[in-house]
Symmetry: C2
Subunit: 542 residues, 2 copies
């Protein structure tokens, strides 16, 4: 089934639409990179399985007659909703492991049809996995729900793809939850507005998914999480419609929206939201700043976040991250810095920001600054953006050659950051050596920054070979997560909890909060059928 | 008992410390104002009752031996914790109505002592009202808990008054919940830091109270609510310590902090929090801007909020509000506008802001702008600040003369604002005429502003006489609240829900959220003894 009116089909295995694969040149670069960095010269690409290769278990439950009009138990549909887009998801696909497919997939076209699904599933004791774009990298949409259920189905919101209202005065829109990033922007553009929310998954994720996972977007400061962009949320629960007043702000009790934001499909099915829009920026200033010392660069970012200048982009890439993304040659750490505005020239902001950089030993790229003022996407920041969008495609080809690559992200306060970073990096490097018998690569960038701390985003590369990749990945993931939990970092800044982070999430959230959340879940979903196993252990009722 | 190390006792009835009363000059102005505006020339001041006049019912429960060391059933203590500082609270005091005093007051000095109180109260089925500064204007601390309890006591956090840690690097502090505004700033000042949170109650409210009520502070934009200033919260619940990781940001499930922020003492007793600090500003630009049309001025504020300039102060006062506060003569609506920074001169910001004002027909006060650059508090903004601080004192004397004055506040999106404002103002004016037989005064200002809407704050004045004041107040309050609920405004932007707003809060929150909150409450407080009747109807367990 084509997605988002594009006429294209999503790949079952790997990133993107069918037909959008790495180019021969990209394949060559990947091969060369693996040879240079890991000394492995004989890699062979294991291709993802074709649809014909995929054999699924027989469905445990059939499609009831009442839902037939909008459900499918076809192999493509079931296989497409079996995994998200994480490293272990793709490894299992490359290894031809096809477990936990949903018994069927529902594509409701109205809230009534969603309610019909929920009613039937409650009675039939079948788990329901709400599904937006399926780009989860944390096992958030995998129908692995345990034995307490008669089956598991996926609820795909793709038909909820419209911008229903635009309020140009207050700069807000009422948007259906299944609207993908490009479709959202296309519907806003004629009104001169933009949501300006560009996660790496932008093309393949939806507003509902962003809200359900507390995702992070375009802005490095102020409006970092989708939380900051939501006026009100509408969700269907077993206890009726959960819809807050549309408000710019409120102080009436604990925020109802904040209980739904980050609920990962476990409390209700988000169907629409009023979100805050921006005017399309017309003034821009951007450049990159080189540093000789990563921690000095981090100090600069700290000063920047504490200045009240609120840059739009303020992403620090360590030298290896900069090199891996083609942003620089690896001889310096790079701060990608930008201001944008629909209202006023931003030179005064950039001038002061560059003063701060120079005071901290940074070397701004002045050529690039000029080019940016002309509106072009050039230099390091343009390179960074292109690499950012292209990365998930390349990862598939890289993993297909036996190189395990993944990312994990967190947040920590500034005063703990240098030790935190050094220890995490050392621990992951050590674990890679132990697991693979050779050195790996661990890089770090900041995705979002706050006056009280950064959100560091780590990437790691370990030559495990395909056979050892799943086990190797888990060993590295465990070592990293154990340590960042021990050092007080959050287990996720914007990737969500899903099933992969549950062990650490349960350790670091307040125990009484877990009790409150569990009680709230039981109140809203007494049968416990909504995405069981995320946020809370599966607790089938009835 | 002296508060916050000041050596002064709080008044039982009315605002502030004992001895701090309106001056003869202020009394004269109040008398003249009532005569001029309402034509009532024979007002006589009814003084608040003395301690000797206050007769309380015999306590229903005595202080158990285990808690004796830090509890009191003295008249001063019980009477001080009977009411908050709302209009109906003071009317009842003037009318010598003394109901619902707590049976005794606990002043725990440690978390162990708090736990001892909670344990005893759970067993004894006694309601416990957590109490910070007692400045609630919504019935948030009144021990009116219904018949389901054996008694009710107040838990005063005044001994939790220390800044425990300061992290200058990340600009944050660990602060005990009972710390009053001035004590907090005094402890931060030697470190060059400030919390910059100045509600009108600043002198008589505490960090724990600000968090429990989702209060609003100094900043008109970006960091409007205390929510934005909290890194983590620590609370004692019946299910153990509820304490989140200290983080600059997180995306791990629904925010544990956001469930506690605004919980109004119903889920747990907040004992401390890590909060975000600011450097003390050294650059300032401020002025006032006069407008001939209030809605045009509102349009200007809208443009300002959507500009991304993020002014520190951006408070629009309608002409009557400006006059009542001595800010201007009542011939124009006044926007009080300011930028401040510890990092950079703010001229570029102010220049663009004034361009926006001029484009919208505003007339900036250029004399004042110069004075402000010199660091003085002069002109309209200085006058505004002084009136803001002095107002609660004057209210006591005004009400003592039979003039009912109160405020209510809300938030609404911009596109609905003009009609919303006009209808609310007309409705309240009409109700005042019906209730009092003569015209009243209804004024409006913006306390906080967002890109998608303002937080309008209404004040009303109705000459009810003291005898008719409680009933008259309730009629006006009901008319205003009914209408703002009907028109989609929040029942409170930063004053909290308390007992006074429950009717409307229950109407406007999502029903499934109420079920979830109720379940969470039962999970954390199974006996239902924590501040029963706020956020949820009293639900005594056991």
């Amino acid at each position: 089934m084509p997605e988002g009116g594009t006429g294209k089909r999503l790949k079952i295995c790997g990133w993107g639409y069918e037909g959008n694969d790495p180019t021969p040149e990209e394949h060559r670069l990947i091969e060369a990179g693996i040879a240079e960095r890991f000394g492995v010269t004989d890699t062979e690409l294991v291709p993802p399985p074709t649809e014909a290769e995929i054999e699924l278990a027989k469905p445990r439950v059939g499609i009831p007659e009442t839902l037939e009009a909008f459900c499918s138990a076809g192999t493509y549909d079931r296989a497409l909703h079996m995994y998200g887009k994480s490293c272990p998801d793709y490894v299992r696909q490359l290894n031809r492991v096809f477990e936990h497919a949903p018994d069927f997939v529902a594509y409701p076209r109205s809230e009534d049809e969603i309610e019909a699904v929920l009613d039937w599933a409650t009675g039939a004791r079948v788990a329901v996995i709400p599904f937006g774009g399926g780009s989860s990298v944390v096992g958030g949409v995998e129908p692995k729900v345990g034995d307490g259920f008669a089956g598991a189905i996926t609820l795909n919101l793709k038909h909820f793809d419209k911008v229903l209202e635009i309020d140009e005065t207050s700069r807000a829109a009422r948007v259906q939850a299944g609207t993908f990033g490009p479709a959202l922007e296309a519907q806003l553009k004629p009104h001169g507005k933009t949501f300006r929310y560009y996660p790496q998954s932008f093309e393949f994720s939806t507003l509902g998914g962003w809200i359900a996972t507390r995702g992070g977007g375009h802005y490095a400061t102020v409006m970092t999480h989708v939380d900051d962009l939501v006026e009100s949320v509408r969700a269907l629960t077993m206890k009726g419609v959960y819809e807050s007043f549309r408000l710019p702000g409120s102080g009436a009790g604990p925020s109802p929206d904040r209980l739904l934001i980050g609920s990962e499909g476990a409390l209700g099915v988000i169907t629409e939201a009023w979100v805050r829009l921006q005017d399309r920026p017309v003034h821009r200033a951007g450049t990159s700043v080189a540093f000789d010392d990563f921690y000095k660069a981090a100090e600069c970012v700290r000063a920047m976040t504490q200045s009240g200048l609120y840059p739009t982009n303020c992403r620090l890439l360590d030298r290896n991250e900069a090199r891996a993304n083609g942003v620089a040659d690896g001889s310096a750490d790079i701060l990608v810095l930008a201001f944008e505005s629909a209202d006023h020239p931003v030179e005064a902001w950039m001038e002061r920001a560059l003063e701060i950089c120079r005071d901290m030993g940074g070397r701004p790229d002045s050529d690039q600054l000029q080019a940016k003022a002309g509106g072009h996407r050039e230099g390091a920041s343009g390179a960074w953006r292109n690499a950012f969008i292209r990365m998930p495609y390349l990862r598939d080809a890289t993993m297909g050659r036996g190189l395990c690559m993944d990312t994990f992200e967190t947040a920590i306060t500034w005063e703990r950051f240098p030790e935190f970073h050094a220890k995490i990096k050392a621990k992951v490097e050590q674990t890679i050596r132990e697991v693979t018998g050779r050195p790996g690569l661990v890089t770090c960038r900041f995705t979002h920054v706050y006056a009280d701390g950064p959100a560091p985003y780590f990437s790691f590369y370990a030559y495990t070979g395909l056979a050892g990749m799943l086990e190797g990945w888990w060993a590295i993931k465990t070592a990293a997560s154990d340590l960042l939990n021990e050092l007080g970092g959050t287990i996720t800044h914007h990737h969500a909890v899903g099933r992969d982070h549950m062990t650490w999430y349960q350790k670091q959230r307040p125990e009484p909060f877990a009790a409150a959340l569990s009680a709230a879940k039981t109140a809203l979903d007494p049968a416990g059928i909504l995405n069981p196993g995320v946020l809370l252990p599966p607790q089938p009722g009835g």
